[in-house]
Every structure is written in structure tokens, then in C-alpha cells.
């Protein structure tokens, strides 16, 4: 990788970190659990890297590692989003009634 790409990627990293801090800094404590499981699901973005590691014609060992990576990342994505949705479906206002 050339130096210019490296700098470019680090720049993206720096901006994203600041964005992440800004986005989350004022979250009320009542939403901490769903926020944590929801952001956890986003970290399942590794699924993109896992899929890309499975180019056809790769070594068998690579394919096994890649498949395991896809499976693990998918657990993270599917489980994370579903469990967050399940929790948030329960948060309701008073005027929305009970049940």
C-alpha cells in the first residue's frame, strides 16, 4: 500500500472517531443496553471483510478460516440487530397503552 493511501485511510479513521464521539455523547442512560447491542451489531461489518476473503481459487485453509469468519460475523449482525429490535419494541410511552 502506498503512503498516500495510508494517510487517506488514517484521515478517514480520525474523522470517524470524532463523529462517533459526537453521536453518542448525549445518550440517556435508559438506552444504554440497546445502544450497546445495536452498535455491537454494526461492528459485525467485519462480514464484508469475511466475504471478501473467500475469493474463488483460494487455499483450503483460507476458505475454512473465511467461512468461519463469515459465520461469526453473521452471528454478530443477525443476533445483534434482532435482539436490539426485540428490546426496543418494548420501550413505549404511556399514551401508547399497555400490552
Amino acid at each position: 500500500m502506498d503512503a498516500q493511501t495510508t494517510v487517506f485511510l488514517l484521515f478517514i479513521l480520525m474523522l470517524s472517531v470524532f463523529l462517533g464521539i459526537e453521536l453518542i455523547s448525549r445518550v440517556p442512560s435508559q438506552l444504554h443496553t440497546p445502544l450497546m447491542s445495536g452498535s455491537n451489531a454494526i461492528s459485525g461489518i467485519t462480514i464484508v471483510g469475511a466475504v471478501l476473503s473467500l475469493s474463488s481459487g483460494n487455499e483450503t485453509v483460507t476458505a475454512i478460516l473465511g467461512t468461519a469468519a463469515v459465520a461469526a460475523a453473521t452471528v454478530n449482525v443477525v443476533g445483534g440487530y434482532l435482539v436490539t429490535d426485540r428490546m426496543l419494541a418494548m420501550f413505549r410511552k404511556k399514551d401508547q397503552g399497555k400490552g
Partner: protein
């Protein structure tokens, strides 16, 4: 096969959806929609990636089906009380995915270099492989240990051996040195190629050991902080993976998660008045006796029938739930009691400490499950200024977060931690199984105050008895 430009465009859309999703997740009204938007972003990123072409779709499908099935079953079957364990495990799978991607990339590149189809690694790529593997690995084992502690499969108290901290520091220094050596580029035809692979395996093993050692020495009561921190690490590992394969959407999303996890970690530490270093390295709670003053006096026990008479006359009641409520599965009974009290003309609130339960916001989720509207859920800062006007404060399975020693006893290990001042209410009922110490192993003088009455027994049974008393009228 679709042009890489369009795929990159799709990644930008996905990143925008993640940002909006996270933003909306931080407000109760929009949180659910925010999560769905974030999931849509993930779907777009995945579909775009599948369009790259030249991929081995059999393996990909196998991975997606296996992982999707496990994730689906886990998410649908977990009880709300078991949520901390579930989130810990999901953190772990995110971490191990990064480790595996790093390994797969390293293995394939090594093979390609040996076959002459790839010229050489760059130091930057190697260092990224190192970071993804170590952070991913320690997130994985750390999460498994955290899960073990939360689910009671491992002892909750810190497990320490002599010289553990020095050993951890040496291990960390060692793995960093190994990482730098690993990142130095060897020639393509270098006979040391094999040695580099060996070095990589050593790095992976050290990373896995580090995760175990880092979490095993932390007490069960500090697990909320640990889960938040591991959440952050799983994002950082994804970020490092993005640097390996030069993929911007991984870097952006990983950094977002890494930053948000760090913010949550900071909030947790603040709620306990402890520094992160103190949480990670002090072995807090390893001595069961604990420092601090001896508890004096005698606890006054009250029966459910007498408690009912007090509650019936009360004009305002504040519930303070803790992990004991989750263990007893008492949240539905508590909400029912809250409804009864409201019908009786009483003002009802639920005061929730940021670190009540085994993970941040855990009590809010449980009470939401029991249909408590979120306007009734208040934070310590909302309730402490008016606590002296509250007729009855009902502490249900909480202990350390209402311990007045944090305010009064400078020798107490939790001195300075912000608490809910339950002891200042006119009357305080403490629902508790027995008169023992809390999860952190610290005695609680609240139990011996003049205005405190202990309602001993299973929290769910006690609350149900109170509900039955109300129904008799």
C-alpha cells in the same frame, strides 16, 4: 460483476445509514427505527460486497446460513434477564470474526507470495493484520470470560495470582514487540517466510491469553464497564480489518463503534466514581470483608401485611430496582404493584442507577419488558433532590447503588460513588433475600437505619403478596 465504483458508492450509503441509525438510537422515540436503518445499511453493504464477483459463493452461503441460524435462535430465545450474557457473547463473535479475517488474509497472502503471484507484504498491512488479530482475539476470550462470570459459570469475584499485573504488562509489551518484528517486511523469497507464520501464531495465542487474563481479575460487579469496553474493542478490531483489505466502510463503522463503546465505558466509570485504570487493575472486591466501618445496630424486619398498610397510605413511592429484581423475575409483579399504587392515587417513579444490574441500562430494558412507560423511569439526579419528600422508597434487589457508605464513610471502598439516596426517604423498604452483603461484597448501613424496614424473602413473592393485599380491597 459490477464496477468497484458503484460498490464504493453503496458503501458510502451504508456508512450514512449507520451514522443516522446511531444518532436515532440515542433517543427513545426514534431508537427502534434507528436500529432498523442501521440494519438496512448493513444489508446494503453485504449485498454490494457479494456483487464483487470472483467469490466462492458456496462457502459464503454456508457461513451466512450457519451464522444467521445461530444469531436468530440466540436473539429470539434469550430472556431479557440474560441480555448481558448475550451481548457479551455477540461482542465475542465480532472479535473472533476480525481475528479470522486477519488470519485468512495472512494465510492467503503468504501462500501467494510463496507461489510468486504476490510480490510482498507491506509493513502497514502486516501491522494491521497484527492489530486485527490481537484485538479480535482478546475481545473474543475476554468476552467469553465475561459471559462466564455473568452467567455464574465462573466465580464472580476477581481471580488473581501473585504478580499477575506485572505478568500482564510483560505479556502486552511482548506482544507489541512481536507485532513490530512481525511487521518488518521480509523479502518475497525469504526463507524466513515460515518463521513469520510461526511468529503470527505466537501473536494470536498471546492475544487470546491476554483477553482471559485481563478480564479474569475483574470483579463481577464491574462487568458493565468490561462489556462496554469489549464492545469498543470489537469495533476497533473491525477497523483494523478495514486497514488490511483497504476497505473504507469497515474503517468508518469500526471507528464509530470503537468511539461509542469508549464513551459508554467513560459513563460507566463516572457512575461508579472510579477511573478506568482502577476498574481494570485494582481487583476491586477481591476481599470479601472489605474496608470501612462496621455496621451497627439491628435490622428491623417487616411483614408484607404491615408493608401494605404503609404503602396504602403513601402519596409517593419510588422503586429502586437492582439485579435482584432480575434474578427473581419480579419486574412484572413490580409493575403490577406500581399500577395498583397509581390507582390508589399515589405518584410512582422508578429510579434507575446507571450501573444497576449487570450491564448499563439493564433495568430499563426489564421494566420496559413489563410495560412500564419510559417517562416513569428516572435517573438518580432527578430523584435525589426530592427524595426527602418521598413517602416510601422501595429498594428491590439493589444494594451497592443505594449504599449510604458511598456518601458518608471515607474508608469504604465505594466512597464517592454517586448513589440513589434511598436512606433519606421518609420510609425505606428493602426487599432482599437475606441480610448478606451485595455483589461487590460491601456491607450496607442502609439496612440498619431507623427508617429502614427489611422485607425478607424472594422479591417476586413479596411483591406479589403486596399486590394481592391491594386486590383484596
Amino acid at each position: 460483476m459490477i464496477s468497484p465504483f458503484l460498490i464504493d458508492m453503496a458503501y458510502i450509503v451504508a456508512a450514512v445509514l449507520f451514522v443516522f441509525g446511531l444518532k436515532m438510537l440515542s433517543k427513545a422515540d426514534t431508537a427502534r427505527r434507528g436500529n432498523q436503518i442501521s440494519a438496512l445499511g448493513m444489508l446494503i453493504a453485504l449485498v454490494a460486497t457479494l456483487l464483487y464477483g470472483g467469490l466462492d459463493y458456496t462457502y459464503i452461503l454456508a457461513g451466512l446460513v450457519i451464522g444467521g441460524g445461530v444469531g436468530l435462535i440466540g436473539a429470539k430465545t434469550v430472556a431479557m434477564t440474560g441480555m448481558p450474557e448475550m451481548v457479551a457473547l455477540f461482542n465475542g463473535t465480532g472479535g473472533v470474526a476480525s481475528l479470522l479475517v486477519g488470519w485468512a488474509e495472512f494465510h492467503q497472502s503468504s501462500t501467494d507470495i510463496a507461489a510468486g503471484t504476490l510480490t510482498a507484504f507491506s509493513s502497514f498491512t502486516l501491522f494491521s493484520i497484527f492489530l486485527a488479530s490481537v484485538i479480535g482475539g482478546l475481545t473474543f476470550t475476554g468476552s467469553v470470560v465475561a459471559w462466564g462470570k455473568l452467567s455464574g459459570k465462573l466465580p464472580g469475584r476477581p481471580l488473581l495470582f501473585p504478580g499477575q499485573q506485572i505478568f500482564n504488562v510483560l505479556l502486552l509489551a511482548g506482544v507489541l514487540a512481536a507485532g513490530i518484528a512481525f511487521s518488518l517486511v521480509g523479502d518475497a523469497a525469504d526463507p524466513l517466510m515460515m518463521a513469520k507464520y510461526d511468529l503470527y501464531l505466537v501473536i494470536v495465542v498471546i492475544g487470546l491469553i491476554l483477553g482471559v487474563l485481563a478480564v479474569i481479575g475483574i470483579g463481577g460487579a464491574d462487568m458493565p464497564v468490561v462489556i462496554a469496553l469489549l464492545n469498543s474493542y470489537s469495533g476497533l478490531a473491525a477497523c483494523a480489518t478495514g486497514f488490511i483489505i483497504v476497505n473504507k466502510v469497515l474503517i468508518v463503522s469500526g471507528a464509530l463503534v470503537g468511539a461509542s463503546g469508549l464513551i459508554l465505558t467513560g459513563i460507566m466509570c463516572k457512575a461508579m466514581n472510579r477511573s478506568l485504570a482502577n476498574v481494570l487493575f485494582s481487583g476491586f472486591g477481591s476481599t470479601s470483608s472489605g474496608a470501612g466501618k462496621k455496621n451497627e445496630g439491628e435490622a428491623r424486619v417487616i411483614t408484607a401485611e404491615d408493608a401494605y398498610l404503609v404503602l396504602e397510605a403513601a402519596g409517593s413511592v419510588v422503586f429502586v430496582p437492582g439485579y435482584g429484581m432480575a434474578v427473581a423475575q419480579a419486574q412484572h409483579a413490580v409493575r403490577e404493584l406500581g399500577d395498583m399504587l397509581e390507582e390508589n392515587g399515589c405518584e410512582v417513579k422508578y429510579a434507575i442507577h446507571p450501573v444497576a444490574g449487570r450491564m448499563p441500562g439493564h433495568m430499563n430494558v426489564l421494566l420496559a419488558e413489563a410495560n412500564v412507560p419510559y417517562e416513569q423511569l428516572v435517573e438518580p439526579d432527578d430523584v435525589n433532590p426530592i427524595i426527602e419528600t418521598v413517602d416510601v422508597c422501595m429498594v428491590i434487589g439493589a444494594n451497592d447503588v443505594v449504599n449510604p457508605a458511598a456518601r458518608e464513610d471515607e474508608d469504604s471502598p465505594i466512597y464517592g460513588m454517586p448513589i440513589i439516596d434511598a436512606d433519606l426517604a421518609r420510609t425505606t423498604f428493602v426487599l432482599k433475600r437475606s441480610l448478606g452483603a451485595g455483589y461487590a461484597g460491601i456491607g450496607n448501613p442502609l439496612f440498619f437505619r431507623d427508617n429502614t424496614r427489611m422485607l425478607l424473602g424472594d422479591a417476586k413473592d413479596s411483591v406479589s403478596t403486596l399486590v394481592a393485599e391491594f386486590k383484596q380491597d
